[in-house]
C-alpha cells in the first residue's frame, strides 16, 4: 500500500469542504472580535475575571459552556480579547478548552458513542480537555508575555500607528494594558462602523492562515491512507500516538470528530479519547492559525507539550 497518493479532484473536494464548514464560524468569530474591539472598554476583561490568577484560568476553561466556539472561530476572538487586556494565560485556556468544553460537542460525542458507554466517554473527553487546557494556561502564567505572543500582538495600538508612520521599532511589551481612549470612537454609529471594519480586516487576516491550513489538511486527508495506522491498533502507546497524529493531519471539526473516532474498531478507548482531545486543540490548520497570535517557537512547543500530556493522560484514563 502506497503511503502517499495525490489526487487533485479529491483534494479540491476536501479543501472546499473545510472552507464551507469552517468559514461561517470564522466569520462569526471575526464579527464578535470587531464588536469586542468597538464596544468592550479597555480594562473590562480584568473586571470580569476573578483577581486570583489561578481561579481566572480555571474560569476561562469553563467559558466554552456559556460561549461555545469552534476552533476556527475562537482564534480571532481571543486575538482581539488579548488586545483588550485579557491575560494571555486565560486566553490560551479558553482557546484550548472552548472547542471541547461546550454543550454542542458534548451532545455530538454522546450521539457518536451511543452504544459504547457514551456518558463516561463524554465526561472523560470534557474532563481531560478542561484539565489539559487549565494546565497549559497555568504554565503560560509563568512565562513572560514576550515569549508567548508574536510581535504584532505585542505592539500596542498607539505604537502600531507610530510604527506605520515613522518606522519605529515596537518596544517589547511587559503587559498589554494600553490607553486606547484616543483611538476608540465614541458614538454608537461610529463604533458599529469601526466594528465592521475591524471584523473585515480580521477576517482577511485569519482567512489567509485558514486557506493555507485547509490546503495542508486537505492534502494529508486525501493523500495519506487512514489504514496506515491500522497496524498500531494492538499497541496502546502506538495506537494513542497514531490516533493523535491522525487527528493532527485530518483537522476535523470538534463537532464531528467523535463520529470518526467511534468507528475505529479495534483501537483502544485511550486512543479514541486522545484523538478527540488532541485534535480540537492542535491540528495542521490550527498550527497556521495560531501563528496569528503566538510566536512560532511557542506554537511548536505547545504542540509537543499537548501531544505528550494528552497522550499520557488518555493512556492513564483509558
Amino acid at each position: 500500500m502506497s503511503w502517499f497518493g495525490f489526487h487533485l479532484q479529491d483534494f479540491c473536494v476536501a479543501f472546499l469542504s473545510i472552507l464551507f464548514e469552517g468559514v461561517p464560524f470564522m466569520l462569526i468569530g471575526t464579527l464578535i472580535s470587531g464588536l469586542v474591539d468597538a464596544f468592550l472598554p479597555p480594562g473590562a476583561m480584568s473586571k470580569i475575571l476573578p483577581r486570583q490568577p489561578i481561579l481566572a484560568v480555571v474560569l476561562s476553561g469553563l467559558l466554552g459552556i456559556v460561549f461555545p466556539m469552534c476552533e476556527c472561530g475562537v482564534v480571532p476572538v481571543i486575538r482581539r480579547m488579548i488586545r483588550k487586556g485579557l491575560p494571555v494565560s486565560c486566553a490560551l485556556t479558553y482557546l484550548l478548552a472552548a472547542p471541547i468544553v461546550n454543550p454542542i460537542v458534548a451532545v455530538s460525542t454522546l450521539a457518536a458513542f451511543r452504544i459504547q458507554t457514551p456518558v463516561s466517554i463524554t465526561l472523560l473527553r470534557i474532563g481531560l480537555g478542561f484539565g489539559v487546557a487549565v494546565f497549559c494556561g497555568l504554565l503560560v502564567q509563568a512565562l513572560p508575555v514576550a515569549q508567548v505572543l508574536n510581535r504584532a500582538m505585542l505592539a500596542p495600538k498607539s505604537a502600531r500607528r507610530l510604527t506605520l508612520v515613522s518606522q519605529l521599532r515596537t518596544p517589547p511589551g511587559e503587559g498589554l494594558e494600553w490607553n486606547e481612549d484616543d483611538l476608540t470612537p465614541k458614538s454608537f454609529g461610529t463604533r458599529t462602523v469601526h466594528a465592521l471594519r475591524c471584523a473585515s480586516h480580521d477576517f482577511l487576516d485569519v482567512a489567509f492562515y485558514l486557506v493555507i491550513g485547509a490546503g495542508f489538511a486537505a492534502l494529508f486527508n486525501t493523500a495519506v491512507p487512514r489504514d496506515a495506522i491500522a497496524p498500531l491498533a494492538s499497541h496502546p502507546v502506538g495506537a494513542t500516538a497514531g490516533m493523535m497524529g491522525l487527528a493532527m493531519l485530518l483537522s476535523l471539526c470538534s463537532t464531528s470528530d467523535a463520529f470518526i473516532a467511534a468507528n475505529f474498531v479495534g483501537f483502544p478507548i485511550a486512543a479514541k479519547l486522545a484523538f478527540m482531545v488532541f485534535g480540537p486543540m492542535m491540528d495542521v490548520k490550527l498550527l497556521f492559525m495560531y501563528g496569528l497570535v503566538f510566536r512560532k517557537r511557542f506554537t511548536l512547543s505547545l504542540a509537543v507539550l499537548l501531544f505528550a500530556v494528552v497522550g499520557a493522560l488518555c493512556l492513564a484514563a483509558g
Partner: protein
C-alpha cells in the same frame, strides 16, 4: 505612498477577495453543488456567509481609506518586500478557492471512498467471506429466497439504520428477519453476491465514510458498478466480534437514477436514533 497604490491596496484588493468568496459561496448554494459538501444543517450558514461577503465587498469598495488603527496591523511598512508579501497574501486568498471551485467534481473518487470504508468488526478477509457466504439459516439455502407473502409490505429503511442495528440490540429486533426496502450503490458484485454502499457524512465531506452491507441474490443484479439500486429483501444479523453484521437476502434489485443528494447524514444528536 501614492493615492493609487493606497486605493488599490485598501479598497480594490479586499473588495475583490470578499466578492470572490461571496460569489463562490452563493454559486454553490444556488447551484445546488453545496449538497455534495455539507450536512443540510450547516448549509444556511454558507448562504448567510455568501451574502455577508457581498455586503462586505460593497462596503469595502464604498469606503474612503480606512484610518482605524485596527486596519493597519500588518499594513504597508514600505519597500518592495512588504508589497510582495501583501500581494502574495491576496493571491492566497483569491486563487486557491477560485481554482478549487472550478476544478472540483463535487464528489470523491471511488478509490478515496473505498479507503474510507467503516470497519464493522475485527473480522476480515477470508474469515469474513466465509461467514457471509454461509447459509443465513440452518435450513437449505434455497429456502432463503422464498418470497414473503405479498401482504407483508417491506419496511423502508436506510443503510444507516442497519449500521445502528448492527451495534444495538434494541434497534436490531426491529429489522432482524424483517422484509426491508432500501437504496444504495451496488459494488463488488459477482453472480450471487454484491455490496450495497452508502457515503455517510457527519458535518462535511471531509469526514465522509463508506458503509457497506453484504447482499445475497438469486441472480446477478442488472446494475453497473457503483450504480444506484433499490433493493427489497430480508435483513438478518450474524455475530462477528462484539457486534452483529447485517446481511440481506434480496428478493428484487432494481436500478434507479442517482438521488440529487447522494450522501447519507449521521444524526448529530442522540435523540433521533433507534426509530
Amino acid at each position: 505612498m501614492s493615492p493609487a497604490y493606497s486605493n488599490f491596496m485598501d479598497r480594490c484588493l479586499p473588495s475583490l477577495v470578499l466578492l470572490e468568496w461571496g460569489h463562490v459561496f452563493l454559486q454553490f448554494v444556488f447551484g445546488g453543488r453545496i449538497a455534495a459538501y455539507l450536512h443540510p444543517l450547516f448549509r444556511p450558514f454558507v448562504l448567510i456567509s455568501g451574502m455577508l461577503f457581498i455586503i462586505g465587498a460593497i462596503v469595502c469598495w464604498g469606503q474612503s481609506r480606512c484610518s482605524d488603527p485596527c486596519c493597519q496591523d500588518s499594513a504597508e511598512r514600505g519597500g518592495k518586500t512588504a508589497l510582495i508579501r501583501r500581494l502574495f497574501a491576496y493571491a492566497i486568498l483569491i486563487l486557491p478557492i477560485a481554482g478549487a471551485a472550478a476544478v472540483s467534481p463535487d464528489r470523491f473518487s471511488i478509490a478515496f471512498l473505498e479507503s474510507r470504508e467503516i470497519e464493522q468488526s475485527g473480522i476480515k478477509g477470508a474469515e469474513l467471506a466465509a461467514l457471509l457466504s454461509a447459509p443465513t439459516r440452518p435450513e437449505a439455502q434455497e429456502e432463503e429466497f422464498q418470497p414473503f407473502p405479498d401482504n407483508e409490505k417491506p419496511r423502508e429503511i436506510s443503510l444507516l439504520d442497519l449500521m445502528l442495528a448492527s451495534r444495538d440490540e434494541w434497534c436490531r429486533k426491529h429489522f432482524d428477519g424483517k422484509r426491508v426496502q432500501l437504496i444504495g450503490r451496488c459494488a463488488r458484485q459477482d453472480e450471487h453476491n454484491f455490496d450495497l454502499l452508502c457515503t455517510v457524512v457527519t458535518c462535511c465531506a471531509l469526514d465522509a465514510q463508506t458503509y457497506s452491507v453484504h447482499v445475497k441474490t438469486k441472480k446477478a443484479p442488472q446494475a453497473k458498478d457503483q450504480g444506484w439500486v433499490k433493493l427489497v429483501g430480508v435483513a438478518r444479523f450474524f455475530p462477528a466480534g462484539d457486534i452483529k453484521i447485517p446481511l440481506i437476502t434480496a428478493e428484487s434489485v432494481t436500478p434507479i437514477p442517482a438521488p440529487s443528494d447522494p450522501n447519507f447524514y449521521q444524526a448529530l444528536t442522540p435523540s433521533n436514533t433507534g426509530d
